[in-house]
Amino acid sequence: MDVKSAMTRARRGLREERRLYVVAVTSLAVAFLCLGATLLGVTNLDAAATRWGHSGRITLFLKDDADPQDIAQLRVVLEGLGDVSEVTHVTPEQARASFLEEADVGADLGSLPSEVFPASLEVTLVNGVTRERSESIASRLGQFRAVSDVESYRGWFEKLDHLLWGARMLAAGLALLVVFCVVAVIGNTIRLAVARRRQEIEVMKLCGATNGFVRGPFVLEGMFQGFASALLAVLALLAGYLALHEPVDSTLAALTGSRIVFLSAWTMLALLLGGALIGAIGSALSVRRYLSV
């Protein structure tokens, strides 16, 4: 098949059917946008999980009547551990102050009794400590006499994992749906285009055009539509990201100390090439079905 001639004819086809194709590309761009937005969510959850997973931390709540000597000894033990990078002692007064500052609720809370805020040791682990390792450290520390309670944030991590798993499933489901939409919409568009170009197709067949020659431009046109839809969606998503990431970042940074990220170059490439590929497949299927001569 002559690719150059197919491209020339595909360009003519795109020009002649532009209204038909604009409708198809716009609706598919919406589908791609949903998928892209979900992928953006997955990317950010993933980034957050990795970041928090790496900067592991353990909180040791201390007994109210703990012996200061025991606490000092505990600190020495902690600082001797290779996995620990930093230990901070938080007094009940500090805990109360930072809670009131972050919670930003009514004045009633100011009268909470100090027992609500026990003293604690905030243990920051070095980067790269696995979750299992941090669990075993936490359980060993729980046996110290001065410690009343240990929080290793395990439940929190499990929740994040669940969330991430759910988001990934949602993305996979949407991806499947998008594939179906692209195949259906482009297939239908190409079917219409074939019907509208019936006369030209007949002339070409009578002149001795092979099926490949006749079908080539339609496949290219479908490919272009798939690519254009994905590109439009990525651009819209990028525009949204650029417009919103600053205000979102400042809120997020205050809450969790993290910033939002955009889709990776690979994800964008996969979206664009995937769009082109599925578009080509959709039109090839359609053309095989409606252009059998």
């Binding site: 098949m1 002559d2 001639s5 002649e16 006369q199 030209e200 007949e202 002339v203 070409m204 067949k205 009578l206 002149c207 001795g208 055009a209 092979t210 099926n211 490949g212 020659f213």
Partner: protein, 262 residues
Amino acid sequence: MQGTKVVRPFPFFRAGARASQPQLSKPILVLEDVYKFFRPDQPTLRGVNLLVDRGEFVFITGPSGAGKSTLLKLVYRELTVDEGRVLFCGRDIGRLTDGSVPFLRRNLGIVFQDFRIIDHWTVFENVAVALEILSIPQRLIRSRVAEALERVGLAGRGPEQTSNLSGGEKQRVAIARAIVPEPALILADEPTGNLDPHLAIDILTLFEEINATGTTVLFATHDHSLISKRDHRLVAIDEGRVVEAQKGLKHWPGSGIHTLVG
């Protein structure tokens, strides 16, 4: 069907290939005992035998519904025979695979009553399409299309929009498209059916000029006045069989074709 893998049954069917000497002496088209049924009880063609030599100009006639178009369709493989054989350059057309049919058609130029011109294409584009399918370089396409347009009397009118042309001009564009790949055989199915009598004569003359350069022409028509003006070989289809009319018969007696035999 085969996509990029093209089946080329015979070297002669390849684009640009020229027939070798022994092929030139053989008849270009032979129909042997051809049957075509659209209804099981009543064949449209029943036992048609026809032999066309290279370089001939043949009128195919018969009343509407006689089977003229059907006969031509068997040659360009729009239809296949139910019995018998159609040989083009000695090869059995009925046995070509679907993938080979395009390569048969590249050796044929086909012209219809309804022109089959793409209205939103220019004159040039309408003619060039026959060469584009052969993957010929654009530069060569331009010069060969210009040449073909000159031969049909449309020199320099390539850039014009086809929708603005008159019926006679549209048919000239269709003829240019048929001759531009230099086919061995031209099949014309009532090419003057939609034209005024004086235009019909012009188009007939054009086909005769093409025939004079060595191209074989099968010209199907039921227009007696056109046939009677010329001296060409006349083949009539009558009740599914072909009847050779005598050469030089200029006066068409009565209405029935039957009266021709004799």
